[in-house]
Symmetry: D2
């Protein structure tokens, strides 16, 4: 069965309901494991930027509502606290353009380089390429690598702003949350109360100016529920298993992700703890997802060929 | 011309001369730009570990001298303070085995996971694979990716321990310092006073237990000198340009590396500063080299196809 | 007028309502500026620890409910978003004993020193002294310095766990929030929706094991509302003005607190920005409030004699 | 016996010898435990700033040599690696004025507040007060609290720049290194090779703009040697024992200092480790010494009345 979940009209987006993941907001849809779920999402600007309107102008016009709104909550039947919600990402449909911005007071190099005037740049998307027009007159094509920037479930009892990542998912800005991969999330409340938004056409490691190519999108998903408990999000691709953790300072995000990988090897593949630690020191890969949000996100990756179920 | 530079016998390694990069120690060799320089290096253990001797046993026997010794200083003709030393890495010849260790008080997950008993594991290297024998009886083959862990020049006036990375290079533990790539280092003193050691057969991102597959090796290099000034090390491969920066906390290493990349785009390719910042937010890659040394190291990478000399 | 606000019975404490500060929970009391408000609070354990029950035993008995519960929300008439809520702390009445605990997985030296077995120690309070019985048989008297550990208002739209400090106040664990001082909080929602709990009989700088002498208490307060906007909490004593900021890593908490002090000098006392910065480099004091909560807290302090209204 | 150790003329200060603490430089004086040692020191500017010359002007004139120079090395008879050097600070004689500066690229609020133009302000010192003339025309008197900013011994084999603090002492910028107190330093090389400089007339916690009231001074000291080993510097006043540790991020400096205090209580006063940890959570004080140098410095303090020799 296919369930379509529409984003709210821009005027109806509210801060508590759409700019947090929380246990209180009434679900906008009820789905079952196995359903194809097609969701329309707002970009991180909440839809106020377009080829004629910069983010700064939108602020001046007063049309900026809640930031980084998610579509949701989506209630997944059978998901209970302590379970793992498996989100299979089937497809991400791109629009014709996306926007990126420098927002003073935000971004990794704020205070590290000069200038930092507010600005927005629109980039068109054609033939799976982002067409970037430089200030010095070059046209550069960047291959798209679309993924979902903000995706998560309700925390057990907090209402966490959608600008923040955490153990519940949220604004992880991790390029591996892409079509073809599976995302695993720890369920905090009955029905999971899932939400998503903030899709990016492409993003560099770190998302350093605070924005990627921010797009509105149509995302196709399928859920399942596993009766096991995980502490932090995980991702699985055809070739890799990944752990995704968020903290400050950045080394703590990395240490959490590495530790989760040790735990996974010990718990699910029967490794000795020290041996797993030594092996990862030779074989793990790590990606800095972002260093601009309230917590920073690191992804640890291990080739699945190294893991044999026993 | 080929110059061969031999490592000192183990008993002659001294802490100030071999476990720091410094402006005082007398050069062991004088080479010219263009010479093929073939260097033998000690592993990070200073040669005291072997298939019959763990690092712990070597400590107990009192045969551990200076840690992470480098072969050097090598004086490069014509290198002056403010210049850039270009190190072309031609070849890294592997031995038959390498050792990795858990060393209590060292390592990224020290205090984050239990156990952490001191131990050393020897892994044999065959057919360009590291043969890892797990504690649970599996044999896993990891393709080798040999690189030079510690490589640098003398600071302008300090004697920096070879366990530390910095603007002068040093213990960056960066897998991109491999055969086929060029390393750029900022020269601090006349002759550069170059040293290297600590070769790894393979290493995961982060070098999390504090050691990789530590090997003694024979390294073939060629130097040249550029009359330009850089602030931090850079690496160039066939396809990428990279900036390599070290700091604590880890986000500061990342920010330095990203800022160096912005600076490179502005200075050498004529980009507008803000535009470079926004573009990198879409296109830069980043690698966590290590999070175990006195400063942590991050490598920012940009595909050279995006940079057009103007 | 005196308003008495009672803490809920232990069984009625709920996670969303009492272990977050949030804009949704219905107020338990409505007060006016000028009222004397007398509040009974639970200790950070939620009342489950007593001279016969360690925290560990309470966990095993399953009687631990929501952690660090606050009494509230208290609705303050006339407080509107953008205002500053002034909380005059009139009195803190101490009980006869308090408990402190080592809780594995929590505390500043977790992973930095050995042992870390869970344990709870009860200390009696007599003649304004905490009577600490050491494991080696000494009795040490520590003068009490009672203060409110968790005190804050609702964020604009999030529900932030009471274990965390922030711009809204919360778990700042700052010993300067004591009788005789005034706390200033930025109002996020109509009525402010104020809550408090987690009183400490005495605490060292850093609250390093994660707990102080945790007590239930009766607190006497008086509110007023100022029609001005502040970004972070402030405290005023007879002799000092203080800014209280929370972040990770700890230097960011310090930098925020110092910057708030610069802003205060510029905005309210007419200093030049650079001059204020240079002057504080000579005259500011700083206290590490805590380094155990989700964000760390630093208090910057300036002697009021240095500030002349112009 | 009184030994007078003169600072070198400004032109003879060299980077390796005076702007590092190192094991190589030849001692400028040989003293014995018990001698009164009277040392003249340069300010952190190396003597180039005066009421007619800003630091910026000195840079432009090219008269700035090595930064933060120390007078030394002073060889202390009988001090051997593994010993503790005790430095009794008898007196610090102040000059008539001191200078403080904003130096772009340096300072805690670099990038956190605007402006940051280079500037130097001279403050006169009269009747034990620093006379601070504000930009808005006020004259503020700050009571002097003179102390030695940079003071340390040679590391075992490195040459550490005098801008950096560490286990060897160095640029700790800790106001408790004042007349009447004793500083304990871990000896790394025979004779200790002690150096000092960078005296401050007064400094706020954090030394946030990167400079205090920087003065040249005459310092009177007396050394003794204890045949015990410490890991980090300690300070003793009439009422307190202190541990002084340096690291980044700032919480690691704090954790090191707290851990050193736990170690001291366990080793020297027979406390149980966990009990010491819990007790410090109630009774320790902490000072942020500085957050501007290559490592940040925190001082943990415990009232000596809580410690009974057993």
């Amino acid at each position: 069965m296919t369930v379509r979940v529409e984003r709210k009209p821009r005027e109806e987006i509210t801060a508590f309901d759409n700019s947090t993941l929380n246990p209180v907001t009434k679900p906008v849809a009820y789905v079952k494991p196995g359903d194809i779920v097609e969701v329309t999402t707002w970009d991180a600007y909440g839809g106020v930027v377009d080829p004629e309107t910069t983010f700064q102008q939108a602020i001046e016009k007063g049309i900026v509502g809640s930031l980084n709104p998610v579509t949701g909550p989506i209630h997944v039947e059978g998901a209970e606290p302590g379970d793992t919600l498996v989100v299979e990402i089937i497809d991400i449909e791109l629009p014709e353009w996306g926007g990126s911005s420098i927002i003073p007071g935000f971004g990794a190099l704020e205070g590290w380089v000069n200038l930092m005037e507010p600005r927005t740049k629109i980039s068109y998307i054609r033939d799976n390429k982002v067409i970037y027009e430089t200030d010095h007159g070059e046209t550069i094509e960047i291959p798209v690598e679309p993924f979902i920037g903000t995706i998560g479930v309700s925390p057990a009892y907090e209402a966490i702003q959608t600008l923040a990542p955490g153990a519940h998912g949220g604004n992880m800005d991790c390029p591996d949350v892409r079509a073809g991969n599976k995302l695993y999330l720890p369920v905090g409340v009955p029905g999971a109360l899932f939400g998503l938004g903030d899709v990016h056409a492409v993003q560099g490691d770190g998302e350093i100016c605070g924005t990627a190519v921010e797009i509105s999108a149509v995302v196709k998903l399928r859920f399942s529920v596993e009766k096991k408990t995980i502490a932090w999000p995980r991702i699985e691709s055809d070739t890799e298993i990944m752990t995704v953790c968020s903290a400050r300072p950045l080394e703590d995000a990395a240490k959490l992700a590495y530790r989760e990988m040790v735990n996974l090897m010990v718990t699910e593949y029967g490794w000795d703890r020290d041996d797993a630690y030594m092996f990862l020191s030779l074989a793990v890969k790590a990606r800095i997802a972002q260093i601009v949000d309230p917590l920073y996100t690191v992804v640890a990756k291990l080739d699945k060929k190294y893991l044999t179920k026993r």
